[in-house]
């Protein structure tokens, strides 16, 4: 299929449709509203469900009800809106419901701003809601990857009966890049959704719930869902290496659009004869723990430099991974400011003792 130029938000919306998610609930918020506006036009064409809810609190819970049918359903929002969905996400994780949630992150805290940021990493990966649960988190760096990961997200949500998040900064939502959609979307087979609420006809009534007043039962449920997380950690780790080589003294760790900026910096440095490599986590939970540890452990690496559009959130995971093996340094801008390749280069040169 030929490439089309698409805005990230629209590409994500189209990708979801092609993954069979013809059910969408939303509440407008910059910088992701184009997802809703695109689907408001497209859904009727594919006979899907488009509904603007009264708030993100409601939308989060509409997802719960919709997911209970066994059909694919999703929503998209941005930082403050996602905060309002945390109770629902915790409930859906507890009730083991597959749903996909896209967060096009903006600067925070509070109302903050509407420009690109990566400061919802903690909320997405550690669990902004209450209780013991995890959400599988994917972070695209290009619009094409946003398309591919969005489609994958629905598969993983069904596979693990767990909420899956796709998080990108504002640029992922707003920029246009050429994208290609698979002619026909094929995915590995999934078990039938016998857990879905389809009416107690010819079978016992079925309950989708997170309440277990008996602590034994609640612990059982938690252990059950954590078995799934263990499996995710074994099977769903995704990442990319860029120009890693034995010549490198510094390993950059960065995700999403920020990682692309690092790539530009790396290319520029290369032209200056300075070789630097990048480790780009694509799955933020499960985090590429062993893979990053292996890269960081290589003898030629002297320093690990984490770069984020935040005050330092993924940093904590990098610290856990690298431990004392190598010093872990951090550079970040926040509040909607996107570090330029020049700034990144400056940081690296300083570490190499070549700073101006």
């Amino acid at each position: 299929m030929e490439k089309v130029l698409m805005k990230g938000n629209e590409a994500i919306a189209e990708a979801a449709l092609r993954a069979g998610a013809t059910n969408y609930f939303c509440y407008p918020i910059t910088p992701q509203t184009e997802v809703a506006e695109y689907l408001a036009r497209r859904m009727p064409e594919v006979g899907g469900v488009f509904l603007q809810g009264e708030s993100e609190v409601a939308v989060g819970n509409m997802l719960f009800g919709a997911a209970a049918t066994g059909k694919r359903v999703f929503s998209s929002s941005s930082s403050p809106g996602v905060s309002l969905m945390q109770e629902a996400v915790s409930y859906m994780a507890g009730a083991q419901l597959p749903v996909v949630l896209v967060n096009i992150m903006r600067g925070g805290p509070g109302l903050g701003g509407i420009l690109p940021a990566q400061s919802d990493y903690f909320q997405a990966t550690k669990g902004g809601g209450h209780g013991d649960y995890k959400v599988l988190v994917l972070a695209p760096a290009t619009i094409q990857e946003a398309v591919d990961l969005t489609m994958l997200a629905f598969h993983l949500a069904d596979k693990y009966r767990n909420p899956v998040m796709v998080i990108g900064d504002g640029m992922i939502g707003q920029m246009m890049e050429p994208v290609e959609f698979p002619e026909k979307y094929i995915e590995p087979p999934l078990p039938p959704k016998t857990w879905a609420a389809t009416g107690a006809k010819g079978r016992k009534p079925l309950i989708l719930k997170s309440l277990f007043l008996d602590p034994i039962a609640l612990e059982k449920n938690n252990i059950e869902i954590f078995k799934k997380y263990a499996k995710m950690e074994a099977d769903e780790v995704r990442f990319e290496l860029y120009k890693t080589s034995a010549k490198n003294r510094i390993l950059l760790v960065s995700y999403g659009t920020m990682a692309r900026i690092c790539q530009t910096a790396i290319d520029e440095l290369e032209s200056q004869g300075i070789s630097v490599g990048l480790f780009r986590p694509i799955s933020l939970y499960p985090y590429p723990f062993n893979e990053l540890r292996a890269e960081a452990s290589r003898s030629h690496i002297e320093t690990v430099l984490t770069i984020e559009m935040s005050m330092g959130q993924m940093l904590e995971d990098v610290q856990r991974v690298v431990g004392e093996r190598k010093p872990v340094k951090f550079f970040g801008r926040t509040g909607g400011i996107v570090p330029s390749p020049e700034e990144v280069i400056e940081q690296i040169k300083q570490l190499l003792g070549k700073g101006k």
Binding site: K3, L5, T30, P31, G113, I114, L115, G170, M171, Q174, M175, M176, E177, P178, T257, R260, I261, C262, Q263, T264, A265, D267, V338, S340, P341, E342
Partner: protein
């Protein structure tokens, strides 16, 4: 052209900045190049300055954020003040001289003045000013083939015949104006 070329287009909201940038991006794709179009967004778009950056490259494009573009096309005074200083040395500046009654004294950039609104009004549609500038940009850079631009415009803005004709007309006018301006000078 080899490597990567970056251009920022800036002006008032409503001057067709975003569209002009997108047309350029579409053209890039048609010619098999990698492109990124990144808009400014948010409430400040109301009335205030709107701008977008287009990156066209043969290689995989890294940062979509461009602080120092190879070229800037400025449609109003605030944009002139904000973006002209940022252009890379050796770069290009296209100024909408209909609304901007000043020029840059930077000697390290090529400057082309295009009376865009005037051309558009004369051609019969004030809204086509953005296309005049687009034409001039393509003429000055040869970044893409002007015929490809035409095809894209026909595809994207071809609904109303009369409007299309105006657009194609001012596109050529801008293009030729740039060629004439550069004369012997190699393109930037």
């Amino acid at each position: 052209m080899t490597g990567q070329y970056e251009v920022t287009l800036a002006g008032f909201g409503g001057q067709g900045i975003m569209v002009a940038g997108q047309l350029l991006a579409y053209t890039g794709i048609k010619e098999g190049k990698n492109v990124v179009w990144l808009p400014s967004y948010g409430p400040e778009m109301r009335g205030g300055t709107a701008y977008c950056t287009v990156v066209i490259s043969d290689k995989r494009i890294g940062s979509p954020i461009i602080n120092n573009p190879t070229a800037a096309c400025v449609f109003n005074r605030p944009s002139f003040d904000k973006f002209v200083p940022r252009v890379k040395p050796g770069g290009l500046v296209i100024v909408n001289s209909s609304l901007i009654n000043t020029t840059t004294d930077r000697s390290d950039v090529t400057q082309i003045l295009v009376p865009a609104n005037q051309l558009a009004l004369e051609a019969g549609n004030g809204k086509a000013a953005n296309i005049a500038v687009l034409g001039a940009f393509v003429g000055a850079t040869g970044l893409v083939n002007i015929d490809t631009v035409r095809r894209v415009i026909e595809e994207k803005l071809g609904k109303k015949k009369e409007i299309l004709d105006v657009n194609l007309k001012v596109l050529d006018q801008g293009y030729n104006l740039a060629l004439k301006y550069l004369g012997a000078k190699s393109r930037v």
